[in-house]
């Protein structure tokens, strides 16, 4: 009898509270979005399943002695996992389009306005009863507008670990929604004539330029904004492994083994931050609304900067490519291409949008560095 009671007390249903049940449902929902709707499945499948596992009562898988809790401590709290993923992103990214036309960096810069506008929005929410975001919380939320998963996770784990789950989920969800969020904004802000602009073929880029590029970017970061150096450093390191041509083995390891293994671990670890008391709160609703806002503002600012460049260059720049400045590589660039093709079936903007697209990655890492330097501990 005693043992049967012990057994009953060890059961999940005897210990499950309503919050855990709801978070398990949220986990299943994320996996559903990932599989059925193809919402960034590489991250959302592990995040969703991690949420499921971490909210199982009694088991404590996400707790300090549980497997996922230990993975979180080792990989996310230290910031190592997002940095390793950023190394892989660097090794997978071709910066050629950006090197060929550096001015597209300005599009990547403009799109970061979404981040800073959201910062104000988050602080403004404090006037609504029930919200109490610190400046650091607001900065961590704002980075969702950067449309860059590893950057958001890196900054979130530094500035507001208790919001990390909601921030990561919002970041990846909106990145997945890029094809739905962006086109109406792009169409609203441009004329049909602007969207039909055919851009000039990109010039070829030499290998020396490709090899020097990581050093130039890193050096400027080191001199001006060292708080962005871990992110930019690993991004450029990965890119150097790719471009230098003498370390094929290491480049492959960064592009495959390391990024795949770390993605699984990182996803599970972030899932463990989806706990009822943190996620089923008013704050999460605020974060989701602000995240959407950040994306829209970022897209709009990118397109507006595209229009400015369109005028400044005498019509050589198609303003649509500004929308790719939010990063979300390579989806945003594909969306640009698609909207461009709607107007002119022979106008392929993909390569031209890759420049602002990868510029957006650098831009949001720089913005993360700024936020870290100005609000960080």
């Amino acid at each position: 009898m005693d043992q049967l009671l012990k057994l009953w007390q060890s059961m999940g249903i005897a210990n499950m509270d309503i919050g855990q049940a709801m978070m398990m449902a949220v986990g299943c929902g994320l996996v559903y979005l990932a599989i059925a709707k193809k919402f960034e499945p590489l991250l959302l499948v592990p995040i969703g399943f991690g949420a499921l596992l971490s909210n199982i009562p009694v088991a404590g898988i996400g707790g300090p002695d549980g497997m996922i809790g230990m993975i979180y401590t080792v990989g996310v709290e230290t910031g190592i996992f997002p940095l390793l993923i950023f190394m892989g992103v660097g090794a997978l990214t071709d910066f050629g389009a950006l090197i060929a036309r550096p001015s597209t960096l300005l599009l990547g810069a403009a799109a970061q306005f979404g981040i800073f506008a959201t910062l104000i929005g988050a602080v403004g929410l404090n006037f609504v009863p029930g919200f109490d975001f610190s400046l650091q919380d607001a900065a961590a939320i704002a980075i969702i507008g950067g449309a860059d998963g590893p950057t958001a996770i890196f900054l979130g784990s530094r500035l507001a670990p208790e919001l990390l789950g909601a921030i990561a989920v919002a970041a990846y969800s909106y990145m997945a929604l890029v094809p739905i969020i962006q086109p109406p904004i792009m169409r609203a802000l441009t004329t049909a004539k602007e969207r039909r602009v055919v851009m000039q073929q990109l010039r070829p880029v030499s290998q020396l330029e490709r090899i020097l590029f990581p050093f130039v970017v890193l050096m400027l970061t080191a001199l001006l904004l060292p708080s962005a150096a871990p992110l930019i450093g690993m991004l450029t390191f990965g890119n150097l492994l790719r471009e230098c041509g003498v370390v094929e083995r290491l480049s492959r390891a960064a592009q495959n083994e390391i990024i795949n293994i770390v993605t699984i671990m990182l996803g599970l670890a972030i899932g463990s931050k989806l706990s009822a008391d943190k996620f089923l709160a008013l704050e999460t609703l605020g974060i989701l609304v602000l995240g959407a806002l950040a994306f829209c503002i970022g897209t709009a600012c990118g397109v507006l900067m595209g229009k400015i460049m369109h005028r400044a260059t005498g019509g050589k720049v198609n303003p649509l490519i500004g929308a790719a400045g939010v990063s979300a590589v390579p989806m945003a660039a594909r969306v640009v291409n698609r909207v461009g093709l709607e107007e002119d079936h022979h106008n392929f903007l993909l390569m031209h949008a890759m420049g602002p697209n990868v510029a957006g990655v650098i831009g949001s890492a720089v913005a993360a560095g700024v936020l870290l330097a100005l609000t960080g501990p």
Partner: protein, 81 residues
């Protein structure tokens, strides 16, 4: 910190932040141009070869082929190796 102070704080953060992001990337535009200029001086692209190509085979109908070859070389150099 009261909400208003925080809001003022975040406004300042926005101005400074966007300022830095823009200045940083604008500076990067300049430096990247300088880098490309220098790099192409030090190691010109192989697409200069096609310019020499037409001279070699001589005869008239060699020209279009050379032009195509040059275009292909250009295109391939533009893509990753």
């Amino acid at each position: 910190m009261s909400e208003t102070v925080l809001l003022y704080e975040s406004l300042r953060l926005m101005l400074i932040g966007m300022g830095i992001v823009f200045s940083f990337l604008l500076l990067l535009v300049g430096i990247l141009r300088l880098m490309s200029w220098t790099a192409l001086r030090l190691a010109p692209l192989p697409q200069t070869e096609p310019a020499a190509l037409p001279a070699a085979p001589g005869s008239g109908d060699g020209v279009p082929i050379a032009v195509i070859a040059a275009a292909i070389a250009r295109y391939r150099a533009g893509r990753r190796r």
